[in-house]
Symmetry: C2
């Protein structure tokens, strides 16, 4: 149950797929030199492997506990969080004006993968804080930024997102929490559920971002405003002052991520919590949307991370667990199960999909950097469109795979996989929240089809298809069976994705519900095709490196084999979603509600 | 979190797919009249819904506990077990000579689905007892049968299977437990793990069947013998007498099925547990194989059952949870989520696959009856071949689907799905053991490819393909779009399954490891194709019934729609496993062990 950051593969994806060199060339990222990036990665790998990973099991077993309104995190969590703050790890991608290190999101995403793989229950506090920082940075007043950002970026204070209410989950327009103006602030009342790290003992203050409705606001989403509601009201000197009127009234008993306190928060039981309006009234939900890309990318990365963790554990078990003879050998001596064909198939499928996710995840992160900083406005806008398109795919496809791969990890362990002490089951339990939170995967598919593809009639997606075809052209010149199989996969992917995109773009206009009925299979097809495209690109780089004897040949050969396995074994069923995505709409509404 | 046995669908599958009429016509099953079967089903549905299902949550939450060697089952379990015994529910399919009711396995399987859906943690004691009864019935001496079977068939005593040891899981040849002859009995020593209901407080005695090695036995599987090792040695009058030298030393902490005590059993700590040899020395493992079909069918049925339970809970949630507007209507009023296209797609995919499993599961159970009782030896043998082929498919495909469908159930619940109180997560946790125990699904696929298809060069499977084609011919005459789509699905299935079977039959001879590398995708293809075939048969019956106005038209229409959804949405990705199953062998051994 250890975790070792896969530095070789991370570096390869960073440099060869995501184009770290190009990102470091963007204005403002000049300090992201190769040496600096390497040093950050190595230091992060150490902290993740030696510091965070060993706390993961107790985080699950002991979890966070609530007593008299006080939440105690699991053993070791508060101490390691102090190390985080001291090491400046929270501040990596944030604005230097407020104490951030101004590193590319690409690097922050890579490091994020490590935290989440090592200890997802812990990693969530970082993720929520990141979202809150983003919101205040984009929409807060200069005074709010000055007051909150330095403390949150350092990690001395952490942030939360208070969105959900019992009747308002995916449909935030239904929320009822109220905020009534009183001089320079508001009095906030209401109950929020599913508040991650809504209360804990790791930071000196907690900055709640709360969605609430002002008294004369219109119904629905346009009546929702965003408020900063700190646990302790900051004093003039910036230290935490008077306790605000809010508390954690209970913790949920969850399937997984036990280390992460999921709070029911009550605001204003004693007259109203003091809250400060962010931006303008009625724009709360649109403010949330601005930070959604980063948050959804992060959740996708959690899917990748838990898959990597599950893979490492399963591979280690498969190498050491001895059971049954080798089918390829006459000798009837039991061997480690990594010699058995189906165990190999499982490990290869984990590995191939993990590498595809890593490629697509880092590529998307690099896109965020490009969209933020590219000096050419038009190039930046195009990159932003691509990021907007990829985000729901990264969130949903990665988190579905995270679950499937964690489940395969359990399977490789056989009976031991079902025993909690083994740890494989924890990954599966932890992973199960990922397709749900930060917008369910159904919502992601809806966003992909109903917004992203609809917006430009599929143009951005078809631009990616064109790049796939261009790569297939390059692959034609590359010698060998492996490359031929990989090229066939890229071409088949381009064809299927093109046809699917055109169908979606047309049917979303003709009849929305028909397009939506096929949205999840479409997302699956798109994710698998795009992941395969970037794996194919990796294979081409690897083959060139082999030819020029540049880098570890075993690593480069493995890249080729993994990409071929992906092309031949992973792609076909996913591309076969082309029929289903077009057909689903014909039958899904044919039964009456009461027939289910 | 209730459970209502889906009696309408069960009856349809029993009569129209599995051919209850034909089964009841077999010699010895004359008493399985329609009236009797109906009465059994209704009574069982009541006990499952009102008795077992309400205990399921406490079974999970409180679970079984061990104190001083005594295992206490969860609240209510011992009491409901008494009802079971009093109602004669254990005895349904067993030999009337020993107090059984001699009912068809087909009926027992249908009832089994109810117990397992209502409460899988409880249901396991029935399943293990069934296996032990089978073993003694087939291989015990007349005296052993007379002594143990009546008590076990009534359920006053329960049985266990003591196979696994830490170093001997899938590879039982490695087991070390010893049995030394001493007069008319043996002294058994050793430690066994993963012993389901190895100790509990529901029955007055527990009959352990233990695999152990005699002192001069050869190494490997041929040195293994089977022993009856009762918890209490029976007195002359049949009452439980002296306590035997065996105990439960600990319970595993498992991901799910908390109600089912999974024991580490220690035999012979005080000199040796008294055991009685079953049959001959050295044949223990082959005895195990004789009861494997029933046991594996039962585990497959658990997969179906947990899927049905998850579906019912998700459908009920989807009908009542109000969130977001209806995309097909201009009115911006929030509606229950069953109106949303992707929720519908999820429900339809659960439902379609459940009905396909039920059809194939009952069909296989009817085959067991036919093989046992058909008066024509040749017909019985052919049916047995078909059963032997289907068993690994039923076990593995059903249990994989059980997991996928339980996970979909969680997803439909959104955030609430991750909260344990909701109950959806329990189904997912409970389901996760099914692809592992009673032979992992990898072992099932190996059995399918390496034994069942290899044995006759694919002939039995190709016989099923021929029946699929024949059905497609019948479907040609059936009018309407739905039937056309269903027929296309059957034809595509026949083609893919044929090509896959021929490839497997050839490659298993040419190079075993290559065939095994594709064995799991092959099983998936075969299961999905065969399930679709029987759904198509159901659709044809339903259409005829609609034409003749026989039966509930809404039920019959739903059958058509469900079969069409299956053909258009479920089949394509599964049939696309044809390429992967042939390709996997090319790459799975290309990486070196240490590269994982």
């Amino acid at each position: 149950m250890t975790y070792t950051a896969p530095l070789a593969d991370m570096r390869f994806a960073l440099r060869e797929v995501a184009g770290l060199g190009r990102v470091a060339g963007l204005p403002g990222y000049e300090h992201a030199t190769d040496d600096t990036v390497d040093a950050v990665l190595e230091e992060a790998a150490r902290l993740a492997g030696n510091g965070l990973a060993p706390l993961n099991r107790d985080g699950d077993k002991v979890g966070a506990t609530l007593e008299n309104g006080v939440v105690r995190t699991a053993p070791g969590f508060a101490a390691i969080y102090k190390e985080f703050v001291a090491g400046g790890w929270n501040s990596l991608p944030f604005d230097p004006e407020f104490g951030g290190q101004g590193m590319p999101w690409l690097l922050a995403t890579t490091v994020q993968e490590m935290w989440q793989a090592a200890n997802m229950g812990f990693g969530l506090v970082l993720l929520l804080n990141q979202g809150a920082i983003d919101a205040i940075h984009h929409h807060g007043s200069p005074a709010q930024k000055a007051q909150y950002l330095p403390k949150m970026i350092s990690g001395d204070w952490t942030g939360t997102m208070n969105l959900t209410e019992p009747q308002a989950g995916s449909d935030l327009g239904q929320l009822k929490s109220r905020a009534v103006r009183e001089g320079d602030h508001y009095k906030v009342t209401g109950q929020k559920i599913f508040i991650t790290y809504g209360e804990h003992d790791m930071a000196e203050n907690i900055v709640h971002l709360v969605l609430a409705r002002t008294p004369d606001a219109p119904a629905g989403v346009r009546g929702i405003s965003l408020f900063i509601v700190p646990k302790f009201l900051p004093n003039e000197d910036g230290t935490p002052g008077k306790r605000n009127d809010l508390k954690c009234v209970s913790l949920e008993h969850k399937l997984g991520i036990h280390a992460s306190p999921t709070c029911v928060m009550s605001f204003g039981d004693d007259g109203g919590a003091i809250g400060y309006l962010v931006g303008e009234e009625g724009r709360g939900l649109s403010y949330m949307f601005t930070m959604m890309n980063n948050a959804r990318l992060s959740v996708g990365i959690q899917g990748l991370a838990i898959a990597e963790r599950a893979y490492q554990q399963a591979a280690s078990f498969a190498r050491t667990r001895v059971q049954s003879k080798d089918d390829g050998k006459p000798n009837p001596v039991p061997v480690s199960i990594v010699h058995h064909p189906d165990v190999r198939r499982m490990l290869m499928s984990m590995r191939a999909q993990i590498e595809a996710m890593r490629a697509l995840g880092y590529y998307t992160a690099a896109g965020i950097d490009g969209a933020l900083r590219h000096p050419d406005k038009e190039a930046a806008r195009k990159t932003q469109d691509r990021v907007d398109l990829l985000i729901p795919i990264v969130k949903a496809w990665f988190t579905d795979l995270g679950n499937e791969i964690a489940s395969t990890g359990v399977q490789i362990h056989g009976g031991m996989g079902f025993i909690e002490e083994t740890g494989a089951a924890q990954h599966l339990r932890d992973a199960r929240i990922l397709p749900i939170y930060e917008g369910t995967n159904g919502i992601q598919a809806r966003d992909l089809v109903g917004r992203k593809v609809a917006k430009d009639g599929g143009e951005t997606m078809l631009g990616l298809v064109a790049e796939m075809r261009a790569l297939a052209g390059e692959l034609k010149a590359a010698p060998g069976d492996d490359m031929e199989a990989i090229r066939d996969g890229v071409l088949a992917s381009a064809e299927a994705l093109e046809e699917a995109t055109i169908w979606v773009a047309q049917s979303v206009k003709a009849e929305l519900v028909t397009a939506l009925a096929g949205s999840v299979p479409f997302l699956r097809l798109a994710g698998t095709a795009l992941g395969g495209w970037l794996l194919a690109r990796s294979a081409l780089v690897a083959q060139n490196r082999l030819a020029t004897r540049d880098g570890d040949p075993a690593f480069m050969e493995a890249k080729l084999i993994t990409a071929r396995f992906y092309a031949e074994v992973i792609l076909p069923p996913a591309l076969a979603q082309l029929g289903p995505l077009q057909a689903a709409g014909r039958t899904v509404f044919a039964l009456r509600e009461e027939q289910f």
